[in-house]
Symmetry: C2
């Protein structure tokens, strides 16, 4: 009876987040989440493998990042391609109307060790997706890895700043963070020159 339910994943994520915030992650069941969303348990499991997964959108962010890196102009450097990816996230995922949800999501995840673990693993998956997409562009493996790690750090910083205030879009906040990171590295790289063997 796989009836099509409009926006089922979004409704389930929103319902789950509300319930986790109200009564805690441990005290919420998949049935509670489905009921709050006006859906069934089997609809839940068509979209998410387990209760934890409901806050992690099934890998869409990784696909979005990889797609944007692939679509960046051929002339773009690795970090420029990463900047394209952060802009895509701002346009298509972390849009202004999602800011409030995102802020609550951060609080809920911080409060639960199981959710923090899943978040950590998802973070690694995003970095791996960016690394892979850069390698597909012909970027050497280590350079791809470094650019992806710096991009991931910029996104982490931007995520915290953006979900806390509303003064700019996610893409812009992330660009600024990446500029700051590059400035910090430039100082670090130039500083020890006279002390190097």
């Amino acid at each position: 009876m796989a009836r099509w339910e409009p926006n089922a994943p979004e409704r389930l994520s929103k319902a789950a987040l509300e319930l986790f915030a109200e009564r805690g992650y441990e005290n919420t069941t998949v049935i509670d989440i489905a009921q709050r969303a006006g859906l069934t348990k089997s609809t839940f499991f068509r979209h998410f493998q387990d209760k934890r997964e409901v806050l992690f959108g099934g890998g869409t962010l990784a696909g979005l990042l990889a797609g944007a890196i692939a679509a960046a102009p051929a002339s773009a450097t690795p970090l420029e391609a990463v900047t394209h990816a952060m802009d895509a996230v701002g346009r298509e995922a972390f849009t202004p109307d999602r800011r409030e949800y995102t802020a609550l999501r951060r609080t809920v995840i911080a409060a639960n060790p199981e959710l923090r673990e899943r978040e950590a693993l998802k973070g690694l998956a995003l970095t791996a997706a960016m690394t892979g997409a850069l390698e597909q562009r012909g970027v050497p493996q280590l350079t791809a890895c470094v650019a992806a790690e710096l991009g991931a750090l910029a996104m982490k910083i931007a995520y915290e700043r953006w979900s806390g205030t509303a003064d700019a879009g996610f893409g812009e906040v992330a660009r600024r963070a990446l500029d700051e990171i590059q400035a910090a590295i430039a100082i670090e790289q130039s500083e020890p020159a006279d002390r190097r063997q």
Copy 2:
């Protein structure tokens, strides 16, 4: 009856790793692990909070990294302090006699999603420990964060290389990885100069 058992944590970790490799993580109980190590279940829980934790040494690596960063010469730059920490890991944790254990540990963790999640979270804790220790030295927050992330990436690369081959100590492998990372960044930083707005 808290009888002192010599090297209990090491014996438990070794027994757990053997059992996970032999019959899988899911098919091993805490009692199995304690029996194989010649210890009791209650000794297990004096040292580790749960079955997963037995492969993650209770935070000793984070303390080792933070201590070595604190003990680095006052004149050391953030990345030089991180290099001190990687040397300390090579001297005190990833010693040559631990290489075989480490290689098996990598394989076992890669095979189980729950262990991969714990590993991901532990990785974040190591980065956070290095960031905190650098800030204690007066390094600005963002610079500390970037140096810690680059150090964590170097350690990740070094961990893979070192557990796979025996041609050098962990500290040396990690130094080389950090040098390669810095070289990759130097190219990335210099390249787009004419394309920047």
